[in-house]
Amino acid sequence: MLTIQKAIENGNALFTLAGRLDTTTAPELEQAISASLNGITALVLDMAELTYVSSAGLRVLLSAQKAMAKQGTLTIRNVNETVMEIFEVTGFSDILTIE
């Protein structure tokens, strides 16, 4: 289960994620991001309520990072310990901007 809350305002987008980002839910986030990427210069993903990220979820984050690198910034916020460990183990902590 994954819930995505979107707030978009003058080129700033905040996505608040809650639940699990895995094989079944990753396509939802992929769609949500690609649908609203147009004209966005700062994308923030709030992961305070996100409990788990699988490799399929990492793939979506990587695509988002690549897309945003061309038009602005991607920031990841409020990462919990489990998810942070996944980012560190996979080396994603080196390429993502995590606050």
Binding site: R20, S55, A56, L62, S63, K66, V89, T90, F92
Partner: protein, 488 residues
Amino acid sequence: MITNLSIIDLINCLFIAAGIGICWLCFLQISSSQHLEKKVQLYFQLFFLLILLYISTHLARQLMDGLPGEGWRVALYAVTFVEILAAGFMAHMMSLLILSVTKPKHATRAIFITLFVLLCTHAAILIVGLFTDCIYHFDEANVYHRSSGYLLSNLCPLAMLAIDIVLLVRHPKCVSRRVLIAFWIYMIAPVIAIVIQSFSYGIQFIIIATVCSAVYMFSVIVRSLNDRYAKQQVESSRIETELNMASSIQADMLPSIYPAFPDRPEFDIYATMDPAKEVGGDFYEFFLVDDDHLCMVMADVSGKGVPAALFMMASKIILANNAMLGKSPAQILTDTNAAICSNNREEMFVTVWLGILELSTGKLTAANAGHEYPVLKKADGRFELVKDKHGFVIGGMNGMKYKEYELQLEPGSKLFLYTDGVPEATDAAQELFGTDRMLAALNENTSVDPEAILKQVRRAVDAFVEDAPQFDDLTMLCLEYRGDVAHA
């Protein structure tokens, strides 16, 4: 009561009774048609109920026509109202059916709204007619007569019919020929019946024409849906066969004959891969680069199923080719990353742990591209995570460089490698197995051989997840280093 039925009345009653019987049969048959979607079932059930309503009220009017008294008069007005209203609903349902199969690119919504407005107008005209007698009326003897505005009651159904015809003419390829012909028959048959009827006043050909063409249309649609279902069955069994073949091809790609190196007493190695679906994205690999160097790989492709399996095959071959050239682990990962990134539009990636063990000295050189921490047991110690330096996953970003590190294995050391399917095995309550439970399972009995170590972990995972379905591929490798016994 109705004792003076004429021959024509008798024929009409027979037609209508037969129609009612046929409609009921169809209605019952729909509920037992397994291959029909629920939506289509409901649609046809409604459709046949409407026809039933239409011809039953028609029959009722025929039978009650001319019966004296205020009670019969009210009943006559009621059934006639329902009859013509049902005719409007039938036309509306037919239009919806044609709209849903033709799927015009533009104006679907506009047509939908137009149809609804037409239906409402039809009902409104009938309600006005009920109070003003402008469409039909019953004389003092309760005998049915058309009024001057009778055509008004056909206006909306005819408009819907016109929309149907335009849609079918403009989208002739939307359905198979057979279904298209059935549609035309259903629309034209009642019109022809009305023409015939107007010459031989009395016999209600329209009833039999409506019922027969509706049943024909229904049977043609059901038959074409059944054909499609049968085709899908063939297709899915073909895919299943192919997946089973792919599954065994993939399994054959991984070393699986044990003991793997019966003539090498310096080490023992054992590995298993257990995909969650027919094919998986995990893989392991081990082979001798030369007489003194054993290369070991544990890897996990993002995602699952066929895409992951295809990507896994490519990565495995590129990795092995690079390793066979005698490069260092960091160089192997760097070159593999460059090769995969050059052609990776789907943005798949793979986490890889790759190590090369010098068998004569026990020196292990390894590099980690975003993979899980390896687990090492020193000669007389317990299994512990090695928090090694991680690089980024392979295939994720062009131009990544990887660093390598060294570990010293003493005789009696064991190395355990795994993919995230192990620590992230999940029980019914969504709790993860975790590395702590994994280490506990490894340390249950540290003295057994690699095969038994893997069984130990597998048992613990199975006991933990219980009935929850296996969600991720489960892949493990264990190496036991015995040292250079030949020269000792």
